[in-house]
Symmetry: C2
Subunit: 120 residues, 2 copies
Amino acid sequence: MVKKGKTTSKRYRFKGRIWIEGEGGTFLGYGRVVLLERIKKYESIAGATRSIGMSYRHAWDLVKSMNSQSEKPLVTAFTGGRRGGGARLTPDGEKAIKLFWKFYEDFRNFLQKEEMKFRI
Amino acid sequence: MVKKGKTTSKRYRFKGRIWIEGEGGTFLGYGRVVLLERIKKYESIAGATRSIGMSYRHAWDLVKSMNSQSEKPLVTAFTGGRRGGGARLTPDGEKAIKLFWKFYEDFRNFLQKEEMKFRI
């Protein structure tokens, strides 16, 4: 059987990595956004870190970095409740997640489109 | 003076890195394409590496990697001439440079467009 018209989009894969920088370096990236999602889910930084195997100290540094670079914080502490408090996303935190995944999706579409155009 | 309407496109910078993978890992990336351009300019791998401070061995590995992953080689050796030979780009080598820079430029435009949309 003769294989005809093998497309180069199969031969080559277009790859990339994206992130958003603020005044103090990285502001949002894949790992940070996953951390935000877990904080939302567990309502706690400790719970979030346990679920992704990240050190509490590192997670705390990332949250501080995001909070200090955005106009309003993305994560806030709350007290009270059954477990005596925790951490929650602010509306801007929720927005950051949505906007980043949109950026990410647009990027994947961009790569796919570019890959289709590539002929060598 | 009151500064009004500060855009977030100034607050945040959208960043990224792109490359093209073949069957054996990376096929084309920023550094590889610059190497191809220098080979074209100096008609020699040794000359190219001197101009960018890369070891000959590393450059040779990159050329082998690119040649083996493309349908036809991107770089070929030639003999003769004043200096007794050297290396030249093939038509596909020339095409690879052009296509990669187009991809790169499209990516920069993509990032700029995404950055303008971002409001947090």
